[in-house]
Structure formats: C-alpha cells, structure tokens
Amino acid sequence: MKKIIRLFLFILVLIGVFIGAYRVLKWKDTAGDYLSTTTMLYETEENTMDVVFLGSSHVYCAIMPNILWETYGISAFDMATSGQDRESTYYHVKEVLKTQAPKVICVDLGCMVYDGYGVEGNLYRNMLSMKLSRNNVELIDASVPEEERMDFITRWPIIHTRYGELQKYDFITNDVSTFGRGAALPLDITQPNMDMEAIKYKDIGEIPEDKLEWLERMIKLSKDEEFELVFFNAPFRMDINQKGIYNAIAVFLEKEKIPYIDFNQEGMLPTLDYASDFLDYAHTNIYGGTKVTKYIGEFLAENYELEDHRGDELYKVWDLDAEYCKHYIQAPLIATESDWISYVNYIQNSEGMVVVISLDGDYDSSSLDLYGMLVPLEIEGKYHKGGKWIMENGDFITYISGDDMEPFVKDIGEDILTVQNIVVKNDVSEMFANIMINNEEIGVSYRGLTIMIYDKILHKVIDIRCYY
C-alpha cells in the first residue's frame, strides 16, 4: 500500500512539473509579440463583439476596428490569422461563436485563390493558437496530413523544441489591457505592380467545386447560428483567372442574397491610391486600411442596427485599443517632425509619454541657439548648467542639474527609466547624455541637446534626436 501511495505521489509530482513546463513551452505567437488574435478572442469579455472579421493577413491589414469604434461605437474584432485558409476560417467562426454572439460576421475571400499553408509557421499559428477542443481537432483533421495529426493534437511533439526561444512572456502572462482588436496597422509603403486588366475584367469564371462547397457550408453555418454573413474581398493583386472566379462568386452570392463587397473591382473604392495605400502587393497599409475600413463602416452602419457601445465599461478594451492605435499612428509622425515648434507642441501634449530633455557636453559652443530652443518647452532649471529635464504626460516633473551625479530612476509601466549625468574619465570637460531603459543605454551619446520620447502605451522609445 505504501508503495502504491508513493508511486501515486510520484506521478502527481511528475504531472505537476510537466504542466509547469507545458505552460512555459506552449505555442505562442512569438511573431505577433505573443499576442495572437485567438488569445485576444479568449481574453475578450463574452458577448461583446458585434462584428467579427475573418480571414488572413489581408484582413488584419485592411480592417481597423479602432476606426469603427471611434466613428460608430461598433465593437468589431479581426479574427484574422496569417495564411488563414478556408477550413481555418470556417472553424474559427465556430470558435468565435463559442463565446461571442456577433450580429454580423464578415469573411474575406482572399482564401479562395490559395490552398493550404505555404508557410509552416502559419499552419502552427492557425492550428495551435486555438484551445484544444473538438472544434480544434476537427480543424486539425481538415488541415493536417494524417501522420502529423497526433503531433498537432497532443501539441507537445511540436512545442517541446521551443526551449531555445523562450522569452519574458513565456513565463508571465501578457496584461489583458495590451491586447488589441486584431489589426496590424502596417505603416510602410510599397507601390504594388497591380494587374489593372484583372481589376477591369468582367468575365465570369467557374467556382471550383471545393470552394463552392465551402461557400455553401459558410452560408449554412450563418443560417444555423443566426448571424448576418457578409463576404468581402480586401484589395490585393490578382490575375484575370482569379478575377474570373471572384466574378463567378459575386454572381453566386447575389443569387444566395449574401452581401459581397469586392474591393478589387474597378471604381469600387476610388480613393484607394495604389502608390501610397499598400504595404505590398497583397496587403493594404494603414492608409489603405483606413479607406477600406471607412467604407465597410458605412456599409455596416447603413445596413445593420448596430449599437453604439462607446462609454460602456464592458467595452473598455475597445477604448484601450483606440488609444493604442492613436499612439501607434502618432509615433512616426513625432519621429519625423522636423519643425521645432510643431515638435514642441507634440511634447507639450504628450499624453501617455515620458520625455527626457538633456543638455550635455560643450553645448555652449553649439552653432544652434539651444537655450532659445528650450524656452518654448516651458521647463524650469538653469539652462547654462546643462543637465536633464524630465516630463510626463506633457508636464515637467523634475530637473537634474548638470553637476548633479545622482541618477533619476522612474518606473514607467513595464520598463524602468534611468537618467544620469556621466563624466567621461579621460576628458572631464565632456558631459554625455545617459538615458537608459531597463539598464540598456538607448541611442548614442551626443553633445548638445538630446531629446528622448518614451511612449508608455506602446512600451517603447518612439524618438531620440540630438541638436548641436
């Protein structure tokens, strides 16, 4: 009996250790800063999503829920994952419906022109982000070769190799407030080589049988689960054969009386500028996404009775997301602002930011009027003594004189800011800016006027610049 109890206890300890290891090693979307859209879904209050968008990267680049929230108070969510194929979309709709009761589900049809997963990481992203359930097993059955299914279902054979890439958020859980609404907000611009012939192409092609079956399955699901189904096609480069299929889909959906918005039609979105609104040939950037989202927002507002949830505490995560997006969009504008007065204006209205202004080295010899530049900032202190000025939320909070060697340390959310004057030993006349985040020096050491702006919402330094 004693031996059986001992064996039982051993198995219990072993299981405990295994569960601990599993939690650390389990699949997380490391490419998405540990914030997979599926995790965002699970972390969202039940029955708060009114509109859900599904699809691949086309969706998270083109649809910005923050715009729908700020404009209409629509609680929208991008349940989009990279490479999300048709089966993944179908089962992700079912996954959404487990905790949410959206009035409208908008499905992107980018998945009609590819099959399976070209990138292995996308297969993991689509299969493993979802919690293990019957729905997940059915998705795996539909997507993974038979000999690999058990690895995906048990997960451990795949995730155990993650020991080489463990990071902070493998050990602690990301704060729920940092979870967005699924949009990626890409800022880069590339002019894609669009096939304009395809955009103008009007001939009706043929919908392949498996794709037609999927469309019918989606429509049936919408009827069974009683949600309004909308299909759309985010802008991307396609050829005329693919366009022929989309034209056939449009005809089919018209017959089925399912709304379909095809952004790849001539004249559909006249404001869309191919020179500035694309991240690459397959994705719109934040500027193109804004246009697409506004269009869809108008469509939703006109056709469905969607409640304005702004101000409702239950929907706070949409407020946080909108705030995050505002900072995200503003950050590059601040970093590229060349006009000093406009820059000062940003600093003085820098809600959610910490600013360090540093006057170092032989700033008296500068060809610029550095003292004069400091005046509009309305900060206290003796400019001629140099040193550091620290501001938070646009307000001046402290001044460290140039001859004060005591470090200033401040907890700024997830990070620690340290500001200190440092004398370089081999040349005592040189004073250098020393600004550190989590004990790591940021930027380079300069003389003259250095300005560093840290965004507490984005958890990162969004600008560091120097004037001499």
């Binding site: 031996k3 290891a21 690999e148 155990h160 190799t161």
Partner: protein, 494 residues
C-alpha cells in the same frame, strides 16, 4: 516499431499489463505473440525469415539432442550454420559480393554480372541469426539441453526487447529463464522501477545525446571537404559518442524492458571509452557480440592455444568477420581490420612497452598512466570509427586527409562552430547531456553500479529529482516530433 516512438509507448504498457495478469502458463504465448507483432510492425513478410531460422535451429537442436553419433551431429550443425548463414548472406551480402566481384571483373575487362537483389535488409537479421545459431552450437557442445517446447524456443529467438538490436542473448541465459517463466514474480515493485529507470536512461542516451549529436556529425561527415581539422576531429569524437549512446541506449532500453517483465538480459556495454587497451575495449563494447565471436569464431579457429603467428591470424580473421557482420561494405571491413591490427600491434609491442616503462621508471599504478592509456585507446577507436561512419572508403580517406591538412584552431573561439548544425543553445544542451553521461559512466567505472541500481539506493527526494529531471529532459530536449525525421537506431541495419 522504434523504442522511441509513440507506438512503443502504447505497445509496451499493454504487453506488460496483459503479461502480468494472464495465467502463468500462457505468459510465454502472450510474449511470443507480442514479439512477432513487434517484429511484423516493420515488415510483416520478414516474420517468415525469423520463423524459418527458428524452425531450422530448433529442429537441429532436437536432432543433436537425440542423435548419438558425433559425425551426424556435426552434419546437422553444419546444415544449421549453412542454412542460417545462407539466409543472412543472401539478404545482407549478396549485393555487396556481386558489386565487389564486378569491380574485379571490370578490371580484367570481363563482362560484369547484372543481377541485383534489390530488397530491404530485414531488421535485426544479424542479431537473431547469431542468437539462434548460438543455441545450435551450445546444444552441440553440450552446454545446454535442447528445448523441447517449440513455442518457448521461438520466444527465445524473437523476444521483442532484444530482437532487432541485441543484446545477442545466449541460450544458456535466456532459454533457461523462459523455461521458468511461470515462476517469475511479476509484481516485484523494485524490479519494475529499476527496469523503468533503465529504459528512461536508455531513451535519454538515444534521444537527447545520440540524435542531437547525429545532426552535427551528419553535417560534417556529409560535407567533410568544407571543414578543417578541429571540426573533423570533433565530428569523429562526436560520432564515437553518438554510436555509443545510440547502441548502448538501445541495449539499456532492451535490458530495462526485459527487467520490467522479470527477465535478466546480459550486460552489453560496460563503460567502453574507459578501456585502457583495445583488448579491454572489446571486453566492454557490444559484449554480447564480441563474446559470441570469441566463443564461436576465435575459439573455433584455435584461439590462443596455438603458435603466436596463428594466434595473430585468428585475431585478425575474427575482427575481419566482425567488421563484415556490421555491414556489407569495405568501410566495415577496414574498420574490423584496423581493430585486428591494433590488437596485433599491441601484442607485438607489449615487451617493448614494458621495457620502456621500466627504463623510465613509469609508475603504472598512477592515475596519469591509466588516464594516458584511456586517451590513447579512445583516440584509436575514434580513428577507426571514421571508417565505420564514412559512406565509402574514398570518403573516409578524404576525411582523414582533410583532418591532417587543414589546421584551424580559431574555430574554437570565433563561434563559427555554432553555425555548423547546432546553435549555441543546442550545443549547451548537448554538452550538459554528455557531462551527465560522463558522470553516469564514472559511477559505473568507480562504484561498479549502473544508474538505476544507484538511484534505488538513494533517498526518495534525490531519486525523484533525478528521475523527474531525466524524464523531463527526454520530453523537452529529446529529438522527436514533426521537425525531426527520427534517426532509427544505427544498429538496426546490422
């Protein structure tokens, strides 16, 4: 069905559980069925071969046991040897023989023989053939009585833990245990735990060390021309560790699995890289095979009860045959020949070595002396492993040539080693695992106890900590899963 597969993880507990609860009298039938299922999971057709080998050797045993005349007995032994070795030759060496013959013929402008036998080598054929033959020879020598129960004998030949990669059990040991299978106390807690720890240790050797080391070794051996002295030396040493962990790992799992079921299989590896001479190495490496060759080949050739020259010839022949047993390729023949050569040179130089130690007053009892012997032996065996691992003789020569001509010690310092096949984390995992292996082998060498026996004697917290660490290491650091095309145990092909 590999030991490190999900299939075996399901198969083994089921077999053991049923074996524990079935009536004692049919235990052997259950194990026989399980063993054939295990073997047939590779290729069902090849079960016919093992059945033929079993029938021939069982019948020969029965006949030898009943016939009085020595002449007839000899004929039966010869028939058993010829038929079994004939099957082995046909499946393993036929293509090699034809290819080698064609090479000779083509040199003399004769027409080559265009007759290839293109089939997969039946898994473990060399192991069970030798095991079955040992039975015929032991019955002939009167060392054991013939086994009258055919099915029990069939279990001896096909006992699944050691069926495909040994240890090559002697009939004296295993047949007698199978005979008494009804008397085994299956519910022996200590024995079961001991066996399970052995299996875990074997899996650690295979999955954490051997399969990880294989990634580095394969890259360097496959592209030897790209690398310099240091990488090539490290890969050769790496292969020495890989093949040890692969093979000893398999043997340890086999012994552990058998122990769980109440069977004691013979020890197959005893810290071979702590050997102080090549002779000593062969007393520690693949003990079941080397003792088989000693008992049935070397002694049959006359052993050392003959002239010195004849003894050396016997040694050389035994090692040549041993090399050929490992594979149908000239690289294995050279590997065997090298070991034979090492042995003979060692014996020839023995008086000179003794004289030198006397002249220079070398303290042969000092640790440094023994350590030097271990280093030299390890270097010699590692050098021979290059031939064993190389794809061809030409590749082995290229490897050695590159190793002695491209001196590049800086790669040890510029981190370029991490770019070869294993990144820094993987190298650290491998290094830590090899250090653990060294500790376990030192334990064996110094305290003469294996890991499982040592742990059983320790306090509970320590035992649990080590076993849990071992199991978690296999689960986390083991090479398996989608990203990895599991390298099967190297010795399956022998």
């Amino acid at each position: 069905m590999l030991f490190n597969s999900l299939d075996f993880l399901i198969f083994f507990p089921i077999v053991v559980f049923v074996y524990f609860i079935v009536p004692k009298k049919i235990r052997y039938l259950w194990l026989l069925g399980a063993s054939y299922y295990f073997y047939m999971s590779w290729n069902a057709k090849y079960a016919i071969l093992i059945a033929i080998s079993t029938i021939i050797t069982w019948l020969s045993g029965m006949l030898i046991g009943r016939i009085k005349k020595t002449g007839w007995k000899k004929t039966i032994v010869a028939a058993s040897l010829l038929s079994n070795l004939g099957i082995l030759f046909f499946f393993k060496y036929f293509d090699f023989a034809i290819t080698s013959l064609n090479e000779v013929l083509s040199r003399f402008d004769f027409q080559i023989i265009d007759r290839k036998f293109d089939v997969l080598l039946p898994v473990g054929i060399s192991f069970y053939t030798f095991q079955a033959l040992s039975y015929t020879l032991d019955v002939y020598r009167g060392e054991i009585e013939e086994e009258k129960n055919f099915l029990k004998y069939a279990l001896f030949v096909s006992f699944f833990p050691q069926l495909v990669a040994g240890p090559i059990e002697r009939s004296k040991n295993l047949v007698s245990q199978i005979k008494k299978i009804e008397t085994i106390n299956v519910w022996n807690y200590e024995r079961i735990i001991n066996g399970l720890i052995m299996m875990a240790w074997g899996l650690f050797q295979k999955m954490v060390i051997a399969d990880r080391m294989a990634i580095f070794v394969n890259e360097v051996f496959d592209h030897a021309y790209q690398y310099g002295t240091i990488e090539l030396i490290l890969a050769a040493v790496g292969f020495a560790i890989q093949i040890y962990c692969d093979f000893a790992g398999y043997s340890t799992i086999a012994i552990g699995a058998a122990r769980v079921m109440g069977f004691d299989l013979m020890e197959n590896f005893n810290t071979p890289y702590f050997a102080t001479s090549i002779g000593d190495f062969w007393h520690r490496w693949h003990i079941s095979l080397s003792s088989w060759f000693r008992d049935y080949v070397y002694i049959s050739l006359g052993g050392n009860r003959c002239s010195k020259v004849r003894k050396y010839v016997n040694v050389f022949i035994t090692f040549l045959v041993s090399g050929l047993w490992h594979g149908a390729s000239w690289t294995f023949v050279i590997w065997g020949a090298l070991h034979g050569f090492y042995q003979i040179i060692g014996l020839l130089l023995k008086p000179i070595r003794q004289k030198i130690t006397k002249i220079f007053h070398v303290n042969t009892n000092a640790f440094s002396f023994e350590f030097g012997q271990i280093l030299i032996t390890f270097s010699l065996t590692t050098f021979a492993w290059i031939f064993f691992r190389a794809e061809s003789l030409k590749a082995a020569i290229t490897y050695i040539k590159q190793m002695v001509t491209h001196w590049n010690p800086w790669v040890l310092f510029d981190k370029s080693m991490y770019a070869i096949a294993l990144n820094e984390t993987e190298c650290k995992v491998l290094l830590a695992a090899v250090c653990f292996l060294l500790i376990v082998d030192l334990l064996k060498r110094v305290k003469n106890t294996n890991l499982s026996d040592f742990l059983i004697q320790q306090n509970l917290w320590f035992r649990w900590a080590v076993v849990i660490a071992l199991l978690m290491s296999i689960l986390i650091y083991g090479i398996y899963g989608i990203q990895f095309d599991s390298t099967k145990f190297i010795y399956f092909d022998f």
